[in-house]
C-alpha cells in the first residue's frame, strides 16, 4: 500500500531558514511510524509475538521506554503502548503486528499521520520545557529512557528522554503541533533556540 504521494508534516509550513545555534536545537521529526498498541499484559503469547516482531520487550514499568536501533516503544498505560518506528516501513510493521495478534484480544492502530515528534536538544532544553511543563524533568528523576504523558503549556504531549544532552522528544497531536512549536519558539527565545529547516519537509 505504499504511496507515491508526498506527505506533509504539520510543521512543514512554518520552518524558518535559520541554522541552529549551539544553545540548542529544535527540529521536527516528521513521518515516523506511530502505532498505538493495546493488548492484555497477562497474555504472554501476545507479548512474545510482539517481541519477535519489534525485537524488544514491551515496557511494563509505567513511564519508561524500550529502544532498539530504529524503534522506541513507550509505555502509555498498563495495556497501551506507542511504537515509534524510524525505518519508514510503517505498513509492514502494522500488517505484521496485526497478523501476529490475530485471535488475541489486541488492537494495533496506525496514528502516524495524526501526530508528530518535535525534538529539543541542548543544554537549555529543560529550562525551555520548564516554562510549560509541570513535571520534574531533572535527570535524577527523568533519565534517558523515561517517558511521560503530560501537559506542555495547554497541549497534551508525550515526552521521551532520549539522551543526556539532554534531548527530549515531544510527541503531540497534529492539530496542536503549530501551537506547541510556536510556544516552544517563544519560550526558547531567551535560550537561543530556533526552528531550523527540516530536511524532510
Amino acid at each position: 500500500m505504499s504511496s507515491p504521494i508526498p506527505r506533509r508534516s504539520p510543521l512543514g509550513a512554518i520552518h524558518s531558514a535559520e541554522t541552529s545555534p549551539p544553545a540548542g536545537r529544535l527540529i521536527e521529526r516528521p513521518f515516523l511510524t506511530h502505532l498505538n498498541l493495546r493488548l492484555d499484559p497477562h497474555d504472554a503469547e501476545a507479548l512474545t509475538a510482539v517481541r519477535q516482531i519489534v525485537g524488544v520487550q514491551l515496557p511494563r514499568t509505567p513511564n519508561t521506554t524500550t529502544v532498539t536501533d530504529d524503534l522506541t516503544v513507550a509505555w502509555l498505560g498498563p495495556d497501551e503502548w506507542l511504537l515509534l518506528d524510524e525505518s519508514h516501513q510503517s505498513d509492514a510493521l502494522l500488517v505484521d503486528l496485526q497478523a501476529a495478534l490475530t485471535g488475541h484480544f489486541a488492537s494495533v492502530v496506525d496514528t502516524s499521520a495524526g501526530q508528530t515528534v518535535i525534538r529539543l536538544s541542548g543544554p537549555s532544553t529543560l529550562d525551555v520545557l520548564a516554562r510549560g511543563c509541570a513535571l520534574d524533568l531533572h535527570p535524577s528523576v527523568f533519565p534517558p529512557g523515561a517517558c511521560a504523558q503530560t501537559l506542555l503549556a495547554r497541549a497534551q504531549a508525550l515526552l521521551i528522554a532520549v539522551d543526556d544532552a539532554p534531548t527530549i522528544d515531544i510527541t503531540v497531536r497534529r492539530s496542536f503541533a503549530p501551537y506547541v512549536a510556536a510556544w516552544l519558539e517563544d519560550s526558547g527565545r531567551d535560550f537561543g533556540f530556533r526552528f531550523p529547516t527540516s530536511d524532510t519537509a
Partner: protein, 994 residues
Amino acid sequence: MSQPFRLNRGGRIDRHAPLQFTFDGRPIDAYNGDTVASGLLANGVTLVGRSFKYHRPRGIVSAGAEDPNAFVQLGHGARTLPNRLATVTPATPGLKVRHVNAWPSLEYDVMSAFGLVAPFIPAGFYYKTLMWPRRFWPLYEHFLRHAAGLGHAPDAPDPDRYDHVHAHCDVLVVGAGPAGLAAAHAAAHTGARVILADEQAEPGGILLSTCEHVDDQPGPNWADATVAKLSAAPNVTLLPNTTAFGLYESNLVLLAERLITDQPDHAGSEHGARIWRVLPKQIVLATGAHERPLLFGNNDRPGVMLAGAISTYVNRYAVAPGSRAVLFTNNDSAYRTALDLTDAGIPVAAIADVRSDPDGDLPSEARAQGIPVYPGAVVRHAHGGRRVAAAELCSLDGDPLGTVECDLLGVSGGFAPALHLHAQARGPSQWDPTLAAFAPKPGHGIHPAGAVAGELELAATLRQGTQAGATAAAAAGYSNGNEVEAPGANDSTQAPIQPYWLPPGNLARAKPQFVDLHEDVTLDDLRLSLREGYESIEHVKRYTTLGMGPDQGKLANPLATGVIAQLLGRDPASVGTPRHRPAYSPVSLGAIAGRHIGPLADPVRVTPMQEWHQVAGARFENVGQWRRAWYYPQPGESMHDAVARECLAVRRRVGILDYSTLGKIEVTGPDAGEFLDRVYTNAWKRLRPGRCRYGLMLGEDGMIFDDGVTARLDDQRYLMFTSTANAAPVLAWLEQWLQTEWPDLRVYLTSVSEHWSNIALAGPRSRDVLAAAGTDIRLARQDFPFMTFREGHVAGVPARVFRISFSGELSYEINVPADRARHVWEALVDAGRPLGITPYGTETMHVLRAEKGFIIVGQETDGSVTPNDVGLGRLISRRKDFLGKRSLSRPDSVRPDRKQLVGLLTDDPAQVLPEGGHVVDAPGPRRPLPMRGHVTSSYFSPVLGRSIALAMVAGGRATLGERLHVATLHDDRWLPVRSCNPVFYDPQGARQHV
C-alpha cells in the same frame, strides 16, 4: 544642597554611583543601592501619599513589604506599574515615581476636605448612608471610585516580558536573612536541590540593617560571603527580587520574580516579571517578623516610623530619617535604634517606655549615653500636620509628662512573625505570650526558623536556621552525616516585652488613632464594630475593611488582635487573626497571564487544509479550539451572498467541505458490538461489516449527549464518528464505562481523530467528481449504496469512503491520512472544476442540514432533550438496555408538554428569525408572557427562497400549523410564524439515495 539627610559615612549604597529619579516630576538624587524610599528620605521628602478614605497626609513607615503608605506608581505609559512600594523598589536612573490616591496633587488634596467637613467617616458609613436614594448610586459610585483611586493601569499593551516557570526542589528557603542564609547553606551542604528566594534586591535581611557580627565579621560581610558560596553551588538556585506570595495545597509555592533589566538606559529597573511555580519537598520559612505599630493620637503623621525601619535607613542606606527623634516602645529593640541614631549624630530627645523598669543591656547602654528615658510612659498624641512636630508624653495614668519636639517618632510595639505563607497552607499557629503575637507551629513539611518562629536573638536565629536547613534536607532524603556548624554571634539579654494595645482610660479619646493606616481604620471604628455586634475578627474585618488593602494588613492585623482582645476583655489567642490569603504582596496581572497571551492564549487547532482555505480567501470561525473555514466570499460578495452561492452549488452541482474536525474512535475487540449496544440507543451487533448507522448516545438521565455515524470496519472493529466538540468528552465517557463498570467487556478504544482527515463531497455531481479524481472503489449505486462504506484509494491515497450525508444530497465523506489529505483535497477540487465544484464552509453546512431538519447536538439540544423530543424516538431500541433508557420512562420524560422540535415559517419569507428568540402563543399586555419555547436554528434557505427556522416548542409536534409568535431581541416586536414539520427540503429523503 543635594541629599541633605544623607549621612556622611556608612551604608551599603555606592557613593561612586550617583543616580537621579523623579518623584511627581521633581528630581531626586540618590545612589545605587538606594530604594525609592531611602532616596526620598535622603532628600527630606516625607509626604509620599494620601490615605485611602480621609486623604490624610502619609509618609514612609517601614523599610520593607509591610508598609501601608508607601504605594507609588512607577514608570509611565505602557510600562507603568501601579501600587508598588517605594520601600522595596530599587532606585534606578530615570525612574519616574508618582504618588497615588491624591487629587489634584499631593500637597493640595481636595478630598482631604472630607477630613475637615466630616472629620471621620465611621465604619459602615457607605453601607448605611449611600444606600439612599437608590437612583443616586451611579453618582456615589463615580465619586467613590475617584476618591479611592489606587493608581492607574497602563494605557497601551504592556511591552514587558512575563514568564512562568515550573520548578522542583528538595528544600525551598523563603527569606535570605540570617536564618534563611544559614538554612540554605546547611541544606545545600547535604547535596539537596535548594531554591532560596528573597524579596529584596540584596540578600541579607536584617543583617544589612544592624551592626551585629556573625562569625567575627560584620553581618553584611558574612551575608556576602554566604551568598557567594551559595551562588557557586550547582544545586542552589538563588532568587533575589523574588517574593513568595502564595502557598497552596500540596505545598505549591508561587514566587513572583521582578525581572530587572541590564540595558544601559534602563539598568536596574523592572521590565516584567516571572512567576515561579515551585513544588518543594520541604519548606524552610525564614520570612522574619514585622514590627508592630502603637496606638496614639495622630499616629499616622508623616515622620512616625517603625523603630526598626529607622535603624535600617541609618545603617543600610546612610539616611537620617529625621533630625530629632522621640522613641516610643514596649520592648528593648527601640533602644538599639536610639543607639544607632546617636551613633549617626541624630539626637534622641526622649524614649517613652511602657515598662516601669526597663533594665536590660540596651536600656542601660542608652541611659549611659545620656538619652532621656521615661519609664512607665506613653505617647499620648503627635503634633504636626504634614509632618510630626512634637510628641506629647504622659504617664500610663494620664499625667502629662511634657511635650517633646521632634520630626521623627519611632515606635515599636514588639514583633509579629510574618507567618503568612504558613497560615495560607492552613498551618496551625499559637499565641506566644513572650512575643504577644501568633507564631507558627512547625509541621506540614514547613520548618519555620528565626524571627518568624519567634526567635529574635541573632545567635539563636543562626542556630535555628542551620538546624531547619539540615532537618528539611533530611526529611527530603538528604543527609550526608557531616552537618555544618551554625555560624556564631554574640547573645545579648533582652528584657521581656510588655504588651501594650490600648491607651489607658481617657487617653483613648484623644485624636484619631489609626489601627490600619492603609484602610484608614481607627480605634473608634473597631469600637463601633464591636458595639454593633461584629465581634469575630472576620466580622470586624468585613465591617471596617481592616487589613483589606494591598498591604494585606501586615501591620494592622497583629495590632488589631490585641486591641480587640482588650476591648472585649478576652484572651488574644481566642480572638485570632483574619485568615491570611494570597497574595502576600501585589502581583501584576501581566505576571499572572505569563506568556499565555496573544496567539499563545489558547491552542489554535487547524486541519491539513488550513493553508488552502486561507489562499481561497475563506473567513474562519472558532469552533472550540478549532479554526474552521466559515465561508469563502468571492470579491464583492457579502456573507449572505457567499453562503447562498455555496448552498445552491451543493443542491444543484457539487460542493466540498473540510470536515476533518469530527471525532473518530476505533472500537476494537470481540465485545465491540455489545459495547455499542450499551452506549447507543439503537442496535449494533447485527450491523454488517461495510455498513454505517446513525446513533444517538444518551446520558444516564436520558438526555442526548452526542450523535454520529458509526461504521462496522470488520467483524471486531467499528469506527465511531463523534461531533467535533464532543470528541474528547465522548472518549472519556466511553472509557469510564469500560474501565469502571464493564471491565469484563473486551473492547479497546483508540482515538484516530487526527490521523484521518475527512473531506465531504456533497451534491448531485459528487459521484462524478470522485470518479474523475481517480479511485479504485466501484461507485455505482448498487455497488456502493447509501449508508455503506468502502476501503480503497482516492487520488492515489489509501482512503475510507463513507456514503453518508449531512446535507441530504448524494454525498461521500472521504477519510484519508492527514499527511496526504491536502493532496486529495486538491485532486478533488481539480477534478471537480469542470463540474463547478464549490468549496463550502461551516455556515453553508448548517443551512443545508437545517433545511433537512437534522439536529446539531448543543444547538437543538442543551442537555435537557430526549430523543423523542427531537423526533428521533424511532432510534430507541425496545429489545435491549442502554445507557439512559430507564430515564426515558420517568414521568418527566413523557410529559406531553415537553419542548419538541418543530419547524417555524415566518409570514414574511424574507424575515430571518433571531436564534434564541422566545416563542409565545400570542403577544399580549401581560408581562412576562408565558414562554412556549425558543428558536434553536434560523437561516435563509436559498434553495427554498425563504427563511426557515428550527425551534423547541412545548407540545409542538401535536400542533403543527399553529400560529405562534417569536420575540425579536432588540426591539419590542413580535414576528408571526406558523409551526411546521422540521424537514423543509426533500422530506422523502430521495436525494441522498440516488
